[in-house]
Symmetry: C2
Subunit: 237 residues, 2 copies
DNA sequence: CGGTACTTTGACCAAATTCAATCACTGTGG
DNA sequence: CCACAGTGATTGAATTTGGTCAAAGTACCG
């Protein structure tokens, strides 16, 4: 998609300056205080995360952006009394850690052993990454959160789970589609705003109805995608 | 916030090009097909919206960005069977209409007579606006949607309503704080993922408990903000 | 006034949660 | 190799929160 811009070079420069300032502030407040001169360009460094360890936690300085290279992370909010909302499940290719304020308002926790590529503010790679993916990552975030909020606010347990499974399956080949769940029943529950028992029961019904096969609790197969789609869209159970 | 950038001019230019392309695509697909030359700079035009009329609807071309100048709009998702999730309520100063794909995935509907400033893609004002507010608007959107999803997924009816009212009240002066609701009970319900009767009942209890005064159904006063805060945070009813 | 749209309240109902066992799978140590 | 924790999943029963249905009540507007 090579568009010719209806934006003058002057305006583009101005835009660049403002956005660069913004990105810079976002990415490394410290650097913003430094000189305006060019700096060395450290390569982005890879971080290895063991399953169930945190990449960042709420309150921590939101200075870095991460690109998931391998594995899966979840983005969670924790209420003071322990209730948890899993806001996102981010697999390879996803960019996470973008936050408005100076401090994270969420935790990012590896669901499996994972590798993330950390992009510091003062490397060219950060700029390249951000120019290429900054907007996409944010727009994607908004889009997914809108879907999630709609599901949480207005869909039944069955619709939520069916939709979740279809999302995981992607638009892949026809059934049978194999899914390797990166999450426990408890985590699905905390993502879909349900009790884990409800999730379990719903899985059981999907199995009884011949819509899914459940090899182990994490290894699933969609046998009847059309039926699952119907359930996700509010069809009768 | 005049930051000196740790980004070379070269990189900034590259960043500018990529982001300009992105913004341009986003803002006016038509213009993207035109020449790269400078274009006249039309001032942003104001649009007057009567209450209950739509600014844009799902599926429509997402070519423009709007800044709310006066009034209030709601951003809604509609499910095929009529269920509705109100994702956002945007008052003066807010920027809306930013969307990922080419088409809107939401509707924007005026709750009151409103005025929005439309920013076309090919005006300098659009660039200025976007450079200045683009990121903020998106980050704000993400932040609010995370809060909403957490509320919808993990909070009780009372917590949701109390939180909603506190949001509307802002961090203003001490009680009594007056609130002029821009929404009906039905709309509050569709925002908080509840039945309208549940909203009404919850209001009634807040009134009985001396936490709020309800002059008319839209004119409210918070009498005991601390108590409301406690309820919003999951305290006992 | 009379009508329409919105709100409140009550009685009942149902989806989902909670409580409580039981089961299945895994890894560990005897 | 098997017993036995330990963790997570499933299932059942009782409960609850919030939803649905129905009937007034109230405000607003021509």
């Amino acid at each position: 998609m090579e568009a010719s811009f209806a934006i003058t070079p002057d305006i583009a420069a101005e835009l660049a300056a403002e956005l660069a300032a913004k990105l810079d502030m976002r990415l490394d407040p410290a650097a913003a205080a430094g000189e305006g001169a060019a700096v060395p360009l450290p390569e982005p460094d890879l971080h290895y995360l063991a399953a169930r360890t945190a990449l960042f936690s709420p309150g921590e300085d939101a200075g870095k952006v991460y690109e998931v290279t391998q594995g899966v992370l979840m983005i969670t909010r924790l209420l003071p009394d322990g209730r948890r909302q899993i806001l996102d499940i981010a697999g390879a290719g996803r960019v996470i850690g973008l936050t408005w304020s100076d401090a994270h308002d969420c935790a990012a926790i590896a669901l499996r052993d994972s590798i993330v590529r950390r992009h510091d503010s003062n490397g060219s790679s950060a700029v390249a990454l951000n120019a290429a993916r900054f907007a996409d990552a944010l727009f994607g975030e908004v889009h997914r959160l809108r879907n999630l909020a709609t599901a949480l606010g207005r869909k039944t347990a069955t619709e939520r789970l069916a939709g979740f499974l279809l999302d995981l399956a992607g638009e892949d080949a026809d059934p049978p589609v194999r899914i390797d769940l990166p999450v426990t029943r408890n985590e699905i529950a905390d993502h879909l705003g349900l009790a884990l028992e409800t999730v379990s029961r719903t899985f059981s019904r999907l199995r009884r109805d011949g819509i899914m096969r459940i090899e182990t609790s994490q290894k699933l197969t969609i046998l009847d995608r059309a039926a699952l789609r119907r359930l996700a869209d509010g069809g009768p159970f």
